[in-house]
Assembly symmetry: C2
């Protein structure tokens, strides 16, 4: 079987880069001073019993972040970024993630290292066993596990290029066995490039058996967390591998199969016997150190290089004697792991040969050379390797200080824009918040279409689709359509006994004039049917003269052929967010404004207010930047001011008529202030519309006075797919995590704690 030739087949080439990726990343939790914490796993995170994303490894302080399987590098890293954001923001405020593979200084008394407090007793027992056999300290090392699977079409097309192996399953297993052997042989190169554990912190080593000087990777050397030397397993064939593994367990050299810590693990099922029955599905590379220079411990180029390396391992011939080939790899690995990071490697020549072959492969297979060329330079310039860079930093300020600084930097990054979820930050804020909460609660979250804000959630076999944050299966098809039609909404609400503004639409001045007596004695508003920024709107608040009424009509008819004359409801408008028969947030929106301090000009006050990290532009932040454009300046002029005026201390200067958040308005949460009677009205009105989720706008003269009669409120409109981010991150008042309410609605069985 000439795989090299098979890979060059026309039908194979288009699929060469097809692959699936998954990353697990461990991290120790430390305080902001870089000291290992003693707190429990974050309580705001969903149950570890099923959590697909946020787990603990050996110790209670040792986070294990797990991405879902992704079809490309961008996606797998996006998930890892997002899981990082969620994890960091779910931890106590004084905790962060230690960015190194080597643990921070460990407690003098090993008993103070808490084994992960898992629910299943067998999981705890196993960890206790490990602690006994290997010592707790070694278990505190962290790293990246990199899961890699060749694309389905790639494997199929390769399979069709040959006749030797009859079944696709056997063929796949042969491919992965070759990869595994070659990886074991050549893995020293990965250590050379990405090894990043040159030094230990206090109390990692039990005795004096430790490196004399910095190395490339303590973790990958015999000083790392490795099996006893008597555990030997052959990679000649899957059958042999399996036999050896079983024998090691039978003879008590391993407690169970999973105690075998190969740098590459063959994956395909829960147990090794599953491999025998169904073949290998993918491989797990376990010897990647955390790259502290990236907050998620790995970056795009590293993953891309690993993918190319996996292709190279398929491409390049292997040694005839499998066991010897693997054993040679072990020797090289040990040597390179323990080399000084700044020194040239012993295997320079072999490394150069590998890179040359990789480039040749790239040329033949029409792959990108640049990446390979870049890493090739690291071979001759060891100072470019990660271990070398860590060492350099250590020389400057000490490894612990350096790691603490980096950790703090990543910590700050996670809180900088609390409304953003890294990896998904181009999506709508509501969807980002929903993804955040899903990841936090351990609900599987897959983005099906980024630009369409289409998400699939999963818990067990319960799937839910969500679009735009709150369009779900819990609402009916017709109810949002009903809310979209303002006429029908008013009709339905009025018939159900709710107060809505009474009004009429006119298409001629004459017709509208005739209706004058209907409105003359009450507060009412004249407005063009479609209007922007209040143009053409006139509000009359008491007895209105016919002449004024006609002037109002004329102004409105200038803007539109249809004019609405409608009862004007006196009071303030509030947005009630109703979900599943409950009001979970009430918001007051006020027009863009600044409050004077007697010193700064309006312009300066605006600049200052715009510093708020919650303010951004184009709906990419919960609040919008306040503009000082034509409309704002006009508004100032009407108040006898300019942008250079200096408002008195405490004087609130409004810059807009309209209270839209999109034009710089402030959002103020008042959920706890509103009398319950109005919440009941909101809930009942939404029920009358048949909706589960709605943002309903009520006019209320006094939110503190309980509802008594019809004049105490009016319903302006009901919105389907109501904005949630303004409630989650208000300008003032308490944020309301509405996306969690959405998850509660979709997954009642999870009993999510609010």
């Amino acid at each position: 079987m000439n795989i090299k030739k098979m890979m060059q087949a026309d039908k194979v080439i288009p699929y060469l880069l097809q692959a699936r990726f998954g990353i697990e990343k461990e991290s120790q939790r430390v305080n902001l001073a870089g000291e290992l914490v003693t707190s429990d796993h974050p309580k705001t995170v969903g149950d570890r019993l099923f959590h697909p994303y946020i787990q603990t490894d050996f110790a209670e302080t040792q986070l294990e972040l797990v991405t879902p399987v992704a079809e490309n590098i961008t996606d797998v890293l996006a998930y890892l970024e997002a899981i990082h954001d969620v994890t960091q923001r779910s931890m106590p405020e004084n905790e962060m993630m230690w960015p190194l593979s080597m643990p921070p200084a460990l407690p003098e008394n090993e008993d103070e290292i808490d084994i992960a407090k898992l629910f299943r007793h067998e999981d705890v027992l196993y960890r206790r066993f490990l602690a006994r056999v290997y010592g707790k300290r070694k278990q505190m090392v962290s790293g990246i596990h990199f899961n890699f699977e060749y694309g389905e079409d790639l494997v199929k097309q390769l399979y069709r290029q040959q006749n030797e192996v009859v079944t696709l399953e056997k063929f796949k297993t042969e491919l992965y066995m070759k990869i595994a052997r070659n990886y074991l042989h050549y893995r020293w190169l990965v250590i050379y490039l990405f090894g990043a554990s040159p030094l230990s912190e206090a109390r990692y080593f039990y005795d004096d058996d430790r490196p004399d000087e910095p190395v490339r990777s303590i973790r990958s050397s015999r000083f790392g967390y490795v099996n006893k030397p008597d555990v030997v397993v052959s990679y000649e064939s899957l059958e042999k591998y399996n036999e050896d593994l079983l024998e090691n367990v039978e003879r008590g050299r391993l407690s169970e199969e999973k105690e075998y810590y190969a740098p590459v693990r063959l994956r395909g099922g829960e147990r090794v016997s599953d491999l025998i029955n169904h073949g290998i599905r993918y491989v797990e590379l376990r010897n990647i150190d955390l790259n502290p220079f990236d907050r998620i411990g790995i970056n795009y180029q590293e993953v891309e290089f690993l993918q190319y390396f996996m292709l190279y391992l398929l491409w390049t011939d292997e040694g005839e004697n499998a066991d010897k080939w693997v054993a040679e790899g072990a020797v090289r690995n040990e040597e390179v792991s323990l080399e000084h990071p700044l020194k040239e490697t012993t295997y320079l020549a072999e490394g150069q040969k590998i890179f040359a072959e990789m480039l040749e492969m790239a040329d033949i297979l029409d792959l990108d050379r640049q990446l390979i060329e870049e890493f090739a330079t690291w071979l001759e310039q060891p100072e470019k390797t990660i271990a070398a860079r860590v060492l350099t930093a250590d020389k400057k300020e000490g490894q612990a200080a350096f790691a603490t600084d980096l950790g703090k930097k990543y910590y700050d990054q996670a809180y900088e824009k609390p409304y953003q979820l890294t990896g998904f930050s181009e999506m709508e804020l509501s969807t980002q918040a929903l993804l955040f909460d899903a990841i936090q609660q351990g609900i599987g979250a897959e983005v099906l279409d980024r630009s369409d804000q289409f998400v699939r959630l999963q818990h067990g076999d319960h799937y839910e689709y969500v679009k735009n944050g709150n369009m779900t299966s819990r609402d009916t098809y017709i109810s949002p359509l009903l809310m979209a039609n303002k006429t029908v909404t008013k009709m339905v609400l009025a018939q159900a006994g709710f107060r809505v503004p009474q009004g009429e639409t006119f298409s001629s001045l004459m017709e509208a004039r005739k209706a004058y007596p209907k409105f003359a004695q009450q507060a009412f508003v004249i407005k063009p049917k479609s209007t922007n920024y209040g143009i053409g709107i006139t509000i009359f608040k008491g007895e209105t003269a016919l002449a004024d009424y006609q002037t109002g009509l004329a102004l409105a008819f200038k803007e539109d052929q249809e004019v609405i004359v409608e009862e004007f409801m006196v009071g303030t408008e509030y947005r009630f967010f109703v979900i599943d028969g409950e009001v979970t947030a009430v918001l007051l929106r006020i027009p863009a404004n600044v409050v004077g301090d007697g010193k700064k000009t309006v312009k300066e006050l605006v600049t200052e207010k715009n510093q708020d990290p919650l303010r951004g532009s184009d709906h990419r932040a919960p609040l919008e930047i306040i503009q000082l454009g034509e409309l704002e300046q006009l508004m100032l002029k009407e108040q006898g001011m300019t942008i250079q005026s200096v408002p008195a201390e405490g004087q609130q200067v409004f810059l807009r008529e309209n209270s839209n958040i999109s034009t710089g308005g402030d959002s103020i949460d008042i959920t706890d202030e509103v009398d319950e009677s109005y919440k009941k009205i909101a809930v009942d009105a939404v029920a009358a519309l048949g909706a589960k989720i709605s943002g309903i706008d009520l006019i209320i003269p006094d939110i503190h006075k309980p509802y008594e009669n019809e004049q105490d409120y009016g319903i302006i409109e009901a919105n389907f797919n109501p904005a949630m981010h303004m409630h989650i991150f208000p300008y003032a008042g308490q944020g309301r995590r509405l996306t969690q309410d959405v998850l509660t609605l979709l997954y009642p069985e999870m009993q999510i704690k609010r």
Copy 2:
């Protein structure tokens, strides 16, 4: 209480024409020869036990059509038109409605007149009693019952103009009592204008006590269906009215209250005692004959006049002695009813006074004069009255022949455009069909927004909202959104194991070129991401050379920046309509075409095919007119033809590439031909998408061969809100009443028979 003055108040005037209307109309069922039928009430119509629209009156052959309450004249007549369409199309093909108030020739043996076969035994018993007391023949007379209510705001504003009557309820009752007395006094004018029963047919009269010559209204005279003369009821006050009525019942002059046949009935509840407790809510005018010149027995101007007349009755003073005032009216009524239709009325002078006062009222209240002026001319020109016109027709061909001709004309009208529902014909065809079926089944159907196709249905206290014919509460909010996203749809279907076309989207020629080997050996299609009329699309059906592939790409990239290369599924496309887990229709659409006869040119064949009443334009008919525009002529040219070519007999000439119905394509129902296995696939795929209603498009090479493997079908797309009219009225094959399936889905408790 000076009502005349109150009506002139500024605040009253805008509401003067605010009112609510309801019409009941009786009709005898006859065969197309105008003979009374003996068949039962139509079986396709929902149960008479609850049917709000289509009932029977006294006899089994006597339809009673009932409109819902409407806020304006247009709406009430629209409902009556629609109910007519439904009733006519629900009757056996050889039956129609007799357009006259006077029945057609009655059977010699009165026993042959079947009393309505109602479910409730008490209803049958009551009719048997009536037959015994009044004779069956008189019960066979039909008419219009006109229900009228002054607008709520109108009554309120009038109420506020006075202090005498304390409660609104009592005030309202006083208004209606005045109306009733005045109507009883002046009703002769309505008989003069709209009386339309000048002659009887065979066997209406039992003896020789009958008019000697034609009259204005047999029905409204003592020859009509009236109480015995000893039944006298006072209208002095509601209390008095009630007392008298109870006394008449107690003394056995009436069997029960409802046997009192006043020309105006006071309404407000089930029983007269309800009137005492809650006051009068509206009045029912019962002395309007069927106007045979309108197919629904009444027209807009008549109703408008009646509304003005009701205002006039409020406006004009009444006689001091109520009983005398009413008794005078009875005398006048009897006289005018029995006048010869072509002769001047005895009460000409009084009539002129009424019209003069009405015009004065119109001037003062700013109402339209024109309508009043028109009817005023009838007073001096009795030949304009309806009775006179019937008489004129009778002279020409005999009343029976004339009525039969008119009945046949209305019959033809109802079948002319079977897909239209008169009164709602500007709405979408699917919504018209849904309204038709709702009315037929006796489901309350209210159009909330005509242009938005928004309907509210009601059965008992079960309300449902429907938009665009099949957007309902039975589907979830998310599922149509999922179907709207073609990428997500394909993803979900593929993951659920269905075959969807595999493909990729490219944004550069280079990128697309690289994928060549993926497609080279299979059938595939290259298309611009958005495309119209197949421009830029190339289909490759076997092994494809790279050069051809590139040409295809170039063509597609000319049309769009994004190009899709996708597996081409071989076979024919079929639309499966799935509802509630069942395929209820399968449709084949074929491009616009004509079939030659060896004689006619393409142009003539097209003209001929376009005669089909199912063809129309702008989606106002189930099929579209075939055009002979640029594209069609180009298509002919490619086949070496022009519009003047004469295709051979049986030769099918296609005029379009695409099979859209909107460009003249034919729709062919093949529901019964498709193998069940494909229906199962359609049902399962729609279930995977979580939808209750979907139109799913499958490519199937052979619909007769049961599904065996993946190559036997492919799913192209799933449509939410799928078109229904093309299935209901196909070009060929059996129509499928899908709107009835929608009602079955919404109202399972009704167990609608299909």
